[in-house]
C-alpha cells in the first residue's frame, strides 16, 4: 500500500533502533508515554519494543477512547436502548465495554435493545432519516478526532429540522488528560513523574494542531514529539525524545509533519466550538473526575442533546477495587503488576477499562506481548521448585 508500507519498513526500523541504542545513555533509564491507543496498538502489533534498547521503556497512556469511558456513561446508553426504546447507534468498539448489572451494549442487544453498529456519525443520521417514527440516539465517544463529525451531524440535523435524532455526547479532550497525569497524586507523593516525555497524539493533533501541547511541555519540562500511527513514526519519535532528554530540552516537536500543523484544522475547530462547549468536569474511567476535560452540546442545539431530551442524570459507578487501571493509565504500574491481569481480567471478560479495547494497555499486552512475561514466570517457578 503506497504511503503505508513505507512507514512499516523493517530495514529502516533496524537503523533507527541502532541509532536510538547508540544515542541512549547506558547509565540512565528513559520512560516515555505514548498517549494514544493507536500508538499502543502499533507498538504491540509490530513488536516495536523489541527494537529498543533495554533502558528505553514505553509506558502506555490513556488515549483509548473506549477505555476511558466510565461505566456510568455506558449505563446511560443501555438505559436509552432498553427503557426508552430508542435506536442506539454506536461505534463497534463500545459494544463489549462492561457496564453495570453484568451488561454491555452487546448483551443489551441480546436482550432486545435496538443497538446498531455504525462506522460514522453520518451513518447514525441516515438511520434517523430512515426511521422517522423512532427516536434515534448516536452514542458519541472519542477524542478530538471523532468530535468534528459529531458536531457536523448535529448541525446538519438542526438544518434539516429532524425531530427524532439526538446525541449522547461523551467526547473528551486530550490536553487536560495529559496535564492530569502529570499532576496525579503519585506526582505529589513522589515529587516526580516517572515519565521523561510523551509521544504526542497523531489524529488528534491533525484537528487541534501542535500548539496546545506547548504549554505543558514548558511548564512541566517534558518533551513532546507528535507522531503518526505507523511503527516507523513511533520509532522516529522515540529517537527524537531520547535526543531532547540528552540535550536537556523540553519542547514540542512534530514528527507527523505530513499531516499536522501548528494551528490544526481550523474549519473543524470552528464547527466544534459552534455546536459544543466545555463541561466543567467529566469522569474518566481510571482517572476519575478531570476538570474541563470533555464537551457537551450547547444550549442552541439543546433539542439534539440526548441528556436533556430524555432527562438523563449521571450516576457514577466505581471500578472494581482490585483493578489497577488508574495506576496503569497514569504510567505508575504496568499491566502485569495488576493482580487480576490475565486471570480474572482478560479480553474475553474485561474487568478494567484497559482490557476492553485492543488499544488499551492491558489488552495490547495480553494479546500481543504476554509471552515476554512467561519465561520470567517459568524461571520463578523453577527457583521455587529448587528451594
Amino acid at each position: 500500500m503506497k504511503y503505508i508500507d513505507e512507514f512499516r519498513d523493517g530495514e529502516l526500523a533496524r537503523h533507527i533502533g541502532e541509532r536510538i541504542a547508540a544515542e541512549a545513555d547506558p547509565s540512565r533509564r528513559y520512560s516515555f508515554m505514548e498517549f494514544c491507543g493507536g500508538h499502543t496498538h502499533a507498538i504491540s502489533r509490530y513488536g516495536v519494543a523489541e527494537l529498543l534498547p533495554p533502558n528505553v521503556n514505553m509506558v502506555h497512556g490513556p488515549g483509548c477512547p473506549v477505555c476511558v469511558l466510565p461505566i456510568g456513561r455506558i449505563d446511560q446508553a443501555i438505559n436509552l436502548a432498553l427503557k426508552e426504546n430508542v435506536i442506539l447507534c454506536t461505534y463497534g468498539d463500545t459494544l463489549r465495554v462492561p457496564a453495570s448489572d453484568s451488561l454491555s451494549l452487546l448483551r443489551a442487544k441480546a436482550r432486545g435493545g435496538d443497538i446498531r453498529m455504525v462506522y460514522s456519525a453520518a451513518d447514525a443520521l441516515t438511520v434517523a432519516r430512515q426511521n422517522p417514527e423512532r427516536e434515534v440516539v448516536f452514542f458519541a465517544i472519542g477524542f478530538e478526532t471523532t468530535t468534528p463529525p459529531t458536531a457536523l451531524v448535529i448541525r446538519d440535523a438542526k438544518r434539516a429540522a429532524l425531530t427524532n435524532f439526538s446525541v449522547l455526547c461523551c467526547h473528551v479532550l486530550t490536553p487536560p488528560a495529559i496535564t492530569h497525569i502529570l499532576a496525579s497524586p503519585e506526582v505529589r507523593d513522589l515529587g516526580t513523574v516517572p515519565l521523561d516525555g510523551f509521544v504526542g497524539p497523531a489524529h488528534v493533533s491533525i484537528v487541534i494542531g501542535s500548539g496546545p501541547y506547548e504549554h505543558f511541555a514548558e511548564s512541566y519540562q517534558k518533551p513532546v514529539v507528535i507522531a503518526g500511527f505507523e511503527p516507523l513514526d513511533v520509532m522516529q519519535a522515540i529517537s527524537l525524545l531520547v535526543r531532547q532528554v540528552n540535550d536537556g530540552r523540553a519542547c514540542v516537536e512534530n514528527e507527523f509533519a505530513r499531516a499536522v500543523t501548528r494551528e490544526g484544522n481550523l474549519k473543524a475547530q470552528a464547527v466544534v466550538s459552534e455546536v459544543l462547549e466545555l463541561r466543567e468536569s467529566f469522569e474518566w474511567r481510571g482517572l476519575g473526575e478531570v476538570p474541563e476535560s470533555a464537551l457537551r452540546i450547547r444550549e442552541a442545539y439543546a433539542e439534539f442533546d440526548a441528556e436533556r431530551r430524555f432527562g438523563l442524570t449521571y450516576q457514577p459507578v466505581p471500578d472494581n477495587k482490585a483493578c489497577e487501571c488508574g495506576a496503569i493509565l497514569r504510567g505508575v504500574k504496568k499491566p502485569a503488576d495488576c493482580k487480576i491481569f490475565g486471570t480474572v481480567c482478560t479480553p474475553e471478560n474485561p474487568v478494567g477499562s484497559c482490557m476492553v479495547s485492543s488499544e488499551g494497555a492491558c489488552a495490547a499486552h495480553y494479546s500481543y506481548g504476554r509471552f515476554r512475561d512467561m519465561p520470567v514466570a517459568a524461571a520463578e517457578q523453577a527457583e521455587e521448585a529448587v528451594l
Partner: protein, 353 residues
C-alpha cells in the same frame, strides 16, 4: 411421491415466493422439491425419493468421516460465490481436512416465508453445480419453512460423509516440534468479499471469495509424500481466520507455532480493505485455503504438490512448530519484532481511531 405435472400449474419461479404451504408436506412441498430441488441436485440416490439415501458400503477398508456445517452467510450472494456453493464447499472441506475422500452430502434448507423462488433456484442450482463439480452428490435433503421474520432468507445445513484411506492419520493433535507449516494461498479473500457487500459498508472492490472444494488438493498433497503419516494436520482457516485456526492446532497438539509475517500471502486489495476497516487479515475468514502441517523431511515435496495444483498456486511455507508449554502462536513481524498471534476475541470489530 410425484405429482402429475400436466394436472398442476408449474411453479412460478420468476415471480413466486416461499409460503407456509411449501413447508406443510403437502402438494406444494412436493412440487417445490420436484420442480426446483430435483433438477438442480439430480442424482439416482435422491431420485429414489425416500426419506434417506441407501448407499453402498465403501470398499477397501479405511475409516468413515462424517462432518456437518450450518451456513448462514449474509448477504446470500457475494462476489465469487453464494450460500449454495458455500454449503457444498464448507462441508466437503471439513471432511477432506481429515484426509478423507468425500463421498456424499446431505442438505437441509430452512426457508423464510416470502423468500423469492428465483433466488432459491439460484442457490440450489449453485449447490448442485458445486456438488457435481466436486463429484460429491447431495443424496438426501430436507426443507422446512419458518414464518416471515423468524429466519433470514435461507439457512442451509449440510452433512458430509467420506472415507479415510488406510495409513492416513491426520488430526489436530498431531503437530510436533520441528514440523513445517504450509498455507495454500492468500488469506482474507472470502471475508473481505462478503464484507464489501454488507449494506452498511458497501465498498467497491474486485476481490472475490476464494470458496472452493479442497479435497483434490488434499489428495494431491497426500500423493506427494512417501509416507502419508508425514502429513500431520490439515485444516481450513474459515471463521476466525488463520490466527484462530493455528491457535486451535497449538492447543490440541500442546505445541507453539512460530510464523514469519513476510511469508504469509495477502492480496494488496485485501490488505488495503482491512487497513480501511480496521481489520487484521490474520483473523478474516477463508473458504478455499488450507493449512498443512507436515514433517520437515516432506515439506519441500508437499509445497511443490500444493503449488502444482490449481487451488494451491500461491502456497507458501509460513512457519514452523516449536516446543512451547504455553502453546503460543507467535510471529516474527515484517518490521523485525516478535508478537503473540492470539485467538480471535469476540467478533472482529473495527477500530474507531
Amino acid at each position: 411421491m410425484s405429482v402429475k405435472a400436466n394436472y398442476i400449474r408449474p411453479l412460478d419461479i420468476r415471480h413466486g415466493r416461499i409460503d407456509m404451504n411449501h413447508g406443510a408436506g403437502g402438494k406444494a412441498a412436493a412440487q417445490l422439491i420436484g420442480e426446483l430441488f430435483f433438477p438442480a441436485l439430480d442424482n439416482p440416490w435422491l431420485a429414489q425419493g425416500d426419506d434417506g439415501a441407501l448407499l453402498p458400503l465403501p470398499e477397501g477398508g479405511g475409516r468413515l468421516v462424517m462432518a456437518t456445517d450450518g451456513h448462514v452467510v449474509s448477504p446470500l450472494f457475494f462476489p465469487g460465490g453464494d450460500l449454495g456453493c458455500l454449503a457444498a464447499h464448507g462441508t466437503i472441506n471439513d471432511v477432506a481436512m481429515l484426509g478423507a475422500q468425500p463421498l456424499y452430502l446431505a442438505a437441509s434448507f430452512i426457508l423464510e416465508e416470502g423468500f423469492p423462488l428465483a433466488d432459491l433456484k439460484r442457490l440450489v442450482d449453485s449447490l448442485g453445480a458445486a456438488a457435481r463439480e466436486a463429484g460429491v452428490p447431495v443424496v438426501t435433503g430436507d426443507t422446512k419453512v419458518v414464518e416471515k421474520g423468524k429466519g433470514d432468507g435461507v439457512f442451509i445445513s449440510t452433512t458430509g460423509v467420506g472415507v479415510v484411506p488406510v495409513g492416513v492419520h491426520i488430526a489436530g493433535c498431531n503437530a510436533r516440534a520441528g514440523d513445517v507449516v504450509l498455507l495454500s494461498g492468500s488469506i482474507g479473500d472470502h471475508g473481505v468479499a462478503v464484507l464489501s457487500q454488507r449494506e452498511s459498508l458497501a465498498f467497491e472492490t474486485t476481490i472475490e471469495s476464494d470458496t472452493a472444494a479442497l479435497h483434490t488438493l488434499v489428495a494431491a498433497l497426500l500423493a506427494s509424500v512417501a509416507d502419508p503419516a508425514a502429513v500431520r494436520v490439515l485444516r481450513d482457516p474459515t471463521r476466525g481466520g488463520l490466527a484462530t485456526t493455528l491457535n486451535e492446532i497449538a492447543q490440541q497438539s500442546s505445541v507453539g507455532i512460530l510464523l514469519q509475517e513476510a511469508a504469509i500471502p495477502v492480496r494488496p486489495e485485501v490488505d488495503a480493505a482491512c487497513e480501511l476497516l480496521g481489520l487484521d487479515p490474520l483473523y478474516v475468514a477463508n473458504e478455499g485455503k488450507l493449512i498443512a502441517i507436515v514433517a520437515p523431511e516432506a515439506a519441500d515435496a508437499a509445497l511443490a504438490a500444493l503449488r502444482a495444483h490449481r487451488l494451491g498456486q500461491g502456497a507458501m511455507r509460513i512457519g514452523e512448530v516449536v516446543a512451547d508449554p504455553h502453546r503460543f502462536v507467535q510471529m516474527e513481524t515484517r518490521f523485525g519484532g516478535r508478537r503473540v498471534v492470539d485467538w480471535l476475541n469476540g467478533e472482529q470489530l473495527p477500530r474507531i481511531c
